[in-house]
Symmetry: C2
Subunit: 254 residues, 2 copies
């Protein structure tokens, strides 16, 4: 069982993960970050010791590297313990990116993290992986303890989950941004779309998105699709409209 944890990193994932662990009475011993100021910020908010010297890391059952993807490998080299478990939190990096003689794993929380946001930690699914069965079970139980939702999957599957997360989160948000641009150009407040956006997401909590699909492309209404394409001024937006409509048309009308 994992009793003590050290967090490496001081970004949004590190911040929320620290809070989530503390809320579930996991003993977070220390926060490490390359720049002291950011470690101090989280340390002082959460009342946890912090350091910018990796040589001063304390002993713990688990070291969670919650840094940006491109810092994981570098940090992983410098963890000065062997008989311990080290994990990263990235959706897109394989477990093998960790370089050291310790036991390795992954503890990936699938959520979009902003520092300002209030998050329901008990809603965030964790995807866990480990080199050995004991560690895998321990990480699984830790995920369960924080959110009730934990899944054991390997690096290849986790990558697929991360790709899906990008699609449902980053890409939908970008579509909202493009729509907000169009609103602004037409002097309509973007808020008019809020009910439609809410209804769209609430619907797929009840029925599978495949069945929830509506709209001109779904109906095979080529006339409307064509009219829309003709009336989009921005080349980039037109291309996105064309490709997504084509994808929907193929799925339902072929």
């Amino acid at each position: 069982m994992i009793r003590t944890v050290v967090i490496l990193g001081a970004g949004n994932v590190a911040y929320h993960l620290t809070r989530a662990l503390l809320q579930n009475t996991v003993d977070v011993r220390q926060i490490y970050n390359r720049t002291l100021e950011k470690a101090k910020e989280i340390g002082e908010t959460t009342n946890i010791k912090y350091t910018d010297k990796i040589s001063e890391l304390e002993k713990a059952d688990l070291y969670i590297i919650a840094s940006s993807d491109d810092a994981i490998e570098e940090i992983s080299y410098h963890i000065p313990f062997n008989n311990t478990l080290v994990v990263h939190t990235s959706g897109s990096q394989p477990m093998s990116i960790l370089k050291g003689d310790y036991r390795k794993g992954v503890f990936y929380p699938m959520q979009t993290f902003s520092k300002e946001a209030y998050l329901q930690y008990d809603e965030i699914p964790f995807f866990v992986e480990a080199q050995n069965e004991n560690d895998l079970e321990d990480l699984y139980q830790l995920g369960k303890r924080v959110s009730g939702k934990a899944y054991k999957i390997d690096s290849a599957k986790r990558l697929k989950m991360h790709i899906s997360a990008v699609m449902v989160n980053n890409f939908t948000n970008h579509l909202y941004t493009l729509a907000a641009d169009l609103c602004e150009k037409n002097e309509i407040p973007f808020e008019v779309f809020h009910p439609l956006i809410i209804e769209t997401t609430e619907k797929i909590m009840k029925i599978p998105p495949y069945k929830a699909q509506t709209g001109p492309a779904r109906r095979g209404d080529e006339r409307v699709v064509h009219t829309h394409l003709e009336n989009i001024e921005n080349d980039n937006v037109r291309e996105i409209y064309r490709l997504l409509s084509q994808s929907i048309t193929k799925m339902y009308n072929d």
Copy 2:
């Protein structure tokens, strides 16, 4: 002021519009539909007279053609009154599609309508248009009465709103569908994405979507984008991923 209304059409828009008007004590006199069975279905649920004979339309202040886009013109020909107001409810059709000697307008409720869904009608924005100022004001007041949210816009602007609605509703739903497919292939329940989807939409109720953007393309993390592209098996999905990532990268990193 609009006191009496006749609904033409018996699909999802007609059904919900009828209910919304009734809830706000507008006198819906009659429902017309080309096939009697569907008119009967709504008529009996809402306790309103129905007919499949356009020659038997009753007198009213307002005729709302809430049919599918391709039936609007045909129905509009046959309305046997001149001194009245006739509108359609389409986001993508111009007011000029209405053919008759009556006064013309548009009454477009921006929402995704499924018969099963329970909808908060007071949340649905109406976009209204009319040939003359009096009718415009009357439609605006009717929209306000139903939802509190009404906007006077012309056909060109309404088309832009409809394009935006397709993007935030139909296209995001399609992204959910593609993600659900990936989940199924990896034996992960799609429900794991619900918290992420909820957080994504709740965030943009508080901050503009432009500022809410996260993810590899937003960070300019070409390595992750490349890894994802390499690991998407479906050509269509890969092309969607590529195009949307490129659009995000351009917006934030150029």
